[in-house]
Amino acid sequence: MYSVGHSEERKDGVAKVRGTARYVDDMTFPGMLHARTIRSTIACGEVLAVRHALEEQGFTVVTARDIPGENVIALIADDQPCLADGVVRHAEEPLLIVAHPQRAALWQARVDVEYHARAPLLDAERSSTIFKEVQIDKGDPGRGFAAADVVVEGEYRTSWQEQLYIEPNGVIAVPENGGVTIHGSLQCPYYVHAALCRVLGLAGGKVRVVQAVTGGGFGGKEEYPSMIAAHAALAALKSGRPVKLVYDRMEDMAATTKRHPAVVRHRTGVTWDGRITAMDIDVLMDAGAYTTLSPVVISRGALHATGPYRCDHVHVRGRAVMTNTPPNGAFRGFGAPQTEFAAEAHMDRIAERLAIDPLTLRERNAWRPGDTTATGQTLGADCSALDVLCEAALRTDFQGKWRRNRGSGRGIGLSLFFHGAGFTGAGEERLASRAALELTAFGARIHVSSTELGQGAHTVLPQIVAETLRVPYEYIEIAPVDTAGVPDSGPTVASRTSMIVGGILQRCAEEMRDRLGSLSPEEYLELHGPLVITKEYERPPGSVWDEEHYRGDAYGTYTFGCNVVELEVDPVTYEARPRRLTAVLDFGKALNPALAKGQIEGGSVQGLGYALLEEVVHKEGRMANNQLANYAIPTTLDVPPLDVVILETPYRHGPFGAKGLVEAPIDGPAPAVINALRNAGYDLRSLPATPEKIMEARCGST
């Protein structure tokens, strides 16, 4: 192999360790203004009056009336305004943008807003406004429950989680060529492009979006940068000057999207020998005030709600409902961490009821190749749920420890999980992503809108091309992500970049290799002139999806994983201290093993934070702990030794067998922690497992 399978050094590494990588807030433009967002301080009501004297003080002020196009951040439902115009539906909703040459002056901008406040709706379970409802039906649950010896019910709850990319959101908008250019910290340049065209009323050619070096996203820079870019662009067009809009940490935490809180109810029929005969699952997600991406989040959540288990009779109902809180949105996992937490916590309660161990129950029900999912998708030869389960159990002596620990204050817990790679259903066909490969004197230059966020996209995509062209990795370049220069290879989300965009590039490189024949790149260019090969996504043959009935191939394929968490509970403080986390993941092929390991470790750390530490506290619809001092994320001292094992069962439609990777690792840690706590003697059914909750769980059981 030339490059694939090797731990090549990341192309962005040197600039990052030298401190020379230029992120948005490191950039300035001549005559640049700094902007700030004036936000609603109430969660629901009307704006009666806005008073200020800012223009006289040298500020540029942008209101909804300054919007030349439509007052909307275009996404799925187009219900979210760019700037609130009279009506406020959540706290921190943007009202005005103010801009000034001096950054420090922004904090002296005084705006008095008079509201007519209404009682906000903050409880999703009392909401009657449904943004999206999905139903999945398989077989006849009535028959399935009739065949059961036991029915186990349970309710599981998860709360918000903040993405907390270390670099806060930010963009710079520069008026250029009768339009605007955005330099931004963002995942999806063409999402921003589409949203700006609508809000500014500009043709596509007048809007240009360039990704700056981006300090993490995790989904948090999927949809929200469209909002920030629109605000900065409006101020830039009004003032005629470049405008920088960079959030501070507190604003970023309070105002931007989070992982959706969820309530998941399970009713499961099982036989005494541990076979699942029926599943009835209800998933409720709190979408917040606007639709944003919630329809797709609830869809993915519902599609992952069964866990990777065989069952002939299934009913899943999912709803995403409106509340008066800032909209929730994309976060690594995208609905699956909530529902897989519920599924896996529920599995251990079923095992407890049947008096069998958690491993045996999972072994009996885990998907095998040829089994069908809840949507009727037949799993291919790459379905390795049982392999990851057995590997993790053997490696950790799970059964032995689980028996010895029970009730001892020590616990071992297991979770088996899966993650659909790429967009749901017909999503990839609708995206019709394109990627281009340009021949250079030594190798090739990749042109894609797929962004480097730290996950390694701009290292792994060149590896796929290098391998296919049979040239060294160093000879493959990647063009700057700039909508003026690269085709739309789709958003950098949904664990799709290596598998989907990598697959398109592999086809480009195959054709380039054929065109070159025995010529070197230099010889080819001399003889035939420039060569650019552009290709579009092609659906794997035989895959079908019925959007109306949620039947068929919900995803191209699935990545499988198993986590085992070993922990101790402090008998005095009731803190759960993880001692080891084992993560066995099978994602087809580790294109770059070191980077893949980094993704598994990183997802596991975020998952441990979700399980144990991260708690968003709301007061009247506003985040009350919107700072790093009291929203705790894991540090070096909180992370136990991580034992990462990579299995490689190839997926025949993925480049070199690869499937999606980066989201799957966050699906497993939370349920493994909760199940380890159960093993230690604590019955918890909600996240995060704070010491207070662990103490109550103990009290409840004695």
């Binding site: 360790v17 401190g19 990588a21 070096v213 144990l612």
Partner: protein, 199 residues
Amino acid sequence: MSEERGFSRRKFLQGVGAGALAAGAMPDLARGAEAPEDAPDLAGPGPVPVTLDVNGVRTTIEVEPRVTLLDALRSRLDITGAKKVCDHGACGACTVLLDGRPVYACSMLAIAAQGKKIETVESLAPGGELNAVQQAFVAHDGLQCGFCTSGFVLASEALLRQNPRPSHEEVLEALSGNLCRCGSYQGIKKASGAAPGGG
């Protein structure tokens, strides 16, 4: 999850009074719409000359006394390796070395850094050749998005200068004041242990 960490952070915050106070005032300022009529004028005393010795170069700038070392570096000297993330002394992304000791540049005023030798990440590879710690971070993939990286590199550099063969626990403790949301801690720990001088 870890009491020890909580305590050490609190102690740290107590130790950086001026910066922490300035940061603590922010929640009210951040809500302009709610600012009371009698809110104090933020401008404060006018600019004063401040001489900073950064990466071996002494520069005198005029800044207001309330300006943090971080803002002075980033906005006045265009030295941007230290990042502004929390501005509260809670994340370590703004770490610089002050007479060889790692400090949070967001929690120190520029005027208080006068007369001290300030090193930022840019000083470690002046000619472009990575130093041992930087090389180890690349070799062990001790970074992903890179926004926390300069802070971790400097925290690690400071540790290894003072303690060339740190134990595993000493590495964990020395790096516990820095946050990495990508969760690259395994690579970071390996890099800090593997850099020449590391144990």
